[in-house]
């Protein structure tokens, strides 16, 4: 039977940035302003009330600031006793008078501190939590929790078992969307919960030795097509984010339910398991409205979201768990090698486009059916790249996991200027004519054979000047191998005797942003039974070829990655 799990997370963020900015318009900063603290608590209380009215339990993630507020503590304790809500601890909302006095910093983001400061902050906030509640919280989170931070938390507090660890695909797009002011440069992680590697939080752990010791949860369940191209903070299970993206008309927001239902449908690809997460900070329900939405609409959107989850629960279609409960259920149900798959369909633009997402301990990738199943994103998780972030590291603010292919950042098929952009596709040639499958829109279906996931694309019709050929692509993904088997089948031709040439290609690169990186030192290799040859990248536009090739290989030392292609048949 299909299982759809829900985590609802609320936090008493005593000084939400947006409400604070509103309150201090024309005034000097004051982190203890009573009106802000009260409004924030009122919103937290309303959020909790709406969840409970709909029969839903929550995880209350206490902020550091809220640990000094007796009213916030009382609400949390009461709701834990009365409704069974979990009391956890978040690294969001650290800023308050006490934090400023202790750490002399205005930084909001835990992942951007130096490692030395991260350790001190962990000890301070966990210590304070234990002082006021008398126990160690087992769930935690932030918008991003780097592996080094989580490893330290696990070392000090082994009971921690769950963390909100990334915001899916918040990277350069989210940064630009916020007028280059929001430092969630976190592209490249899984879109649904996972067990992270000790080496890099984005990567799925390979085995027990690599297991960081928590179940990671992405902040929100996001639209896997709209957010690949657009801002993360417009399209997800966050009603006010949807208002921010203006995906509504006359106050009606069917898109929220459409996202929830598409996530519910993911059980078809994941052995009966599906997941959703909602986590709205109080700043999004400000009494003075948020951008174009007034308070009435902000509240309505939240009420309707909770009501829908409540309705699903009443119908037996949803199980609400706290974060720590979910971590236990997830570990019981998931092996390390089991991939997360999703054939996502457009629910926003009316295009009928599909994208297939896959993530396992070896890689995360995306196939775009609008481009004949071309791979438009590829992250080499097998590298388990050590990439600490924060002050004193070379990555500093850029906490994304590098790609080998990212067709939007690095142009993909058909670049505006000369040259080919990053994409994995196939070209079919007949005589002097050539067609790239990127130009052949299609649809896909998903199936399984034992531990093999299969993505079967509908055949595409390719017209050459004097014949038409029908070609079908099938992707087979054998669990636990790190391999993708791609079959290109010519299933019909108006000239049965015609011969075609298939050029299975990848135009790779590496990076975390739109800007090019230095490819010097990348090695391209050709192997046959008799010959081995290789080229070190030196920007000299050299080519090489070999007959009866057994494998082609690219080694990208900058991201510790090796990718190879083996022809067969």
């Amino acid at each position: 039977m299909a299982k759809f799990y829900l985590n609802i997370v609320h936090r008493p963020e005593m000084v939400p940035e947006y409400i604070q900015k509103e309150a201090e318009l024309g005034k000097k900063e004051d982190l203890t302003r009573g009106s802000v603290l009260q409004e924030s608590l009122d919103i937290f209380r309303i959020q909790q009330q709406l969840a409970h009215e709909n029969g839903l339990r929550t995880t209350i993630q206490m902020t550091y600031a809220s640990l000094f507020n007796s009213e916030a503590l009382a609400i949390a304790k009461n709701d834990h006793e009365l409704y069974g809500d979990e009391i956890g601890l978040t690294f969001l909302g650290i800023q308050c008078k006490e934090f400023r006095e202790k750490f002399h910093s205005k930084e909001l983001a835990i992942w951007l501190f130096s490692m030395e400061d991260k350790r001190k902050i962990v000890e301070e906030v966990y210590g304070k939590f234990q002082e006021v509640f008398g126990f160690i919280p087992t769930s935690t989170g932030s918008y991003y929790m780097d592996a080094e931070l989580v490893n330290y938390i696990k070392e000090k507090y082994p009971v921690v078992k769950a963390a909100i660890a990334t915001c899916w695909e918040e990277g350069p797009k989210a940064y630009r969307n916020a007028n280059n002011s929001w430092y969630t440069l976190l592209d490249g992680g899984p879109w649904n919960p996972w067990i992270p590697s000790k080496r890099n939080i984005h990567c799925i752990a390979s085995n027990k030795e690599d297991d960081i010791g928590i179940v990671a949860i992405p902040h929100l369940s996001r639209d896997l097509m709209a957010v690949f191209d657009g801002p993360g903070s417009y399209y997800g299970t966050h009603p006010q984010n949807i208002l921010r993206g203006m995906v509504y008309e006359n106050g009606e927001i069917p898109y929220f339910k459409n996202i929830v239902d598409q996530y519910r449908s993911m059980h078809k690809y994941n052995r009966g398991y599906a997941y959703n997460m909602m986590f709205v900070g109080p700043g999004w329900m400000s009494k003075s409205g948020r951008w174009e939405a007034d308070y009435a609409l902000l509240l309505k959107s939240y009420k309707e979201g909770m009501a829908y989850y409540g309705e699903l629960k009443k119908n037996g279609d949803l199980e609400d768990l706290t974060m720590s409960e979910f971590a236990d259920v997830y570990r019981q149900d998931h092996s390390y090698n089991r991939p997360e798959c999703t054939l996502w369909k457009d629910i926003l633009y009316g295009s009928k486009r599909q994208m297939f997402w896959f993530a396992d301990p070896w890689m995360r990738f995306c196939l775009d059916m609008n481009q004949g199943g071309a791979m438009v994103d590829l992250r080499p998780y097998a590298a388990k790249l050590l990439r600490p972030c924060g002050v004193g590291t070379s990555a500093n603010q850029d906490a994304s996991y590098p790609f080998l292919v990212q067709s939007l950042y690095r142009s993909g098929f058909f670049t505006h200027y000369a040259g080919e952009g990053a994409v994995k596709s196939c070209k079919i040639s007949y005589g002097s004519e050539q067609v790239d499958l990127c130009t052949c829109r299609t649809k896909a279906s998903f199936s399984e054979e034992g531990n093999t996931r299969i993505v079967t694309l509908d055949p595409v019709s390719i017209e050459f000047s004097n014949l038409t050929v029908s070609l079908q692509t099938i992707f087979r993904l054998d669990e636990g191998t790190g391999q993708i088997e791609i079959t290109r089948k010519i299933i019909d031709s108006t000239d049965p005797g015609a011969e075609f040439l298939l050029d299975e290609y990848i135009t790779g690169c590496y990076g975390t942003t739109e800007y090019p990186e230095d490819l010097s030192g990348v090695q391209l290799c050709l192997n046959s039974e008799k010959h081995n040859d290789s080229i070190f990248y030196e920007y000299k536009c050299r080519e090489n070829e070999i007959r009866e090739v057994q494998r082609v290989r690219a080694i990208v030392p900058q991201v510790d990655a090796l990718i190879e292609m083996i022809p067969d048949g």
Binding site: E22, L25, N179, Q262, S288, Y349
Partner: protein, 69 residues
Amino acid sequence: MAQGRKGKLNYRCPRCLMREIDMDMLYDKDLDEYYCLRCSFTGNEAKVKRLNAQFREKYRDRQNRITEF
């Protein structure tokens, strides 16, 4: 000219929004217009609303409840 302040709602610049940049505008009460510090957009509330409606048009399914997956 009057000091720019927040309007009754915190409108974002519709021109910047078209390129998916959230840029808050300021309101000039003397001229009854909003203006953008980034792209030089100016316009009254009616103009902002008209352009916001245009922005929404790309979401062809924004009013549709989709249940088949």
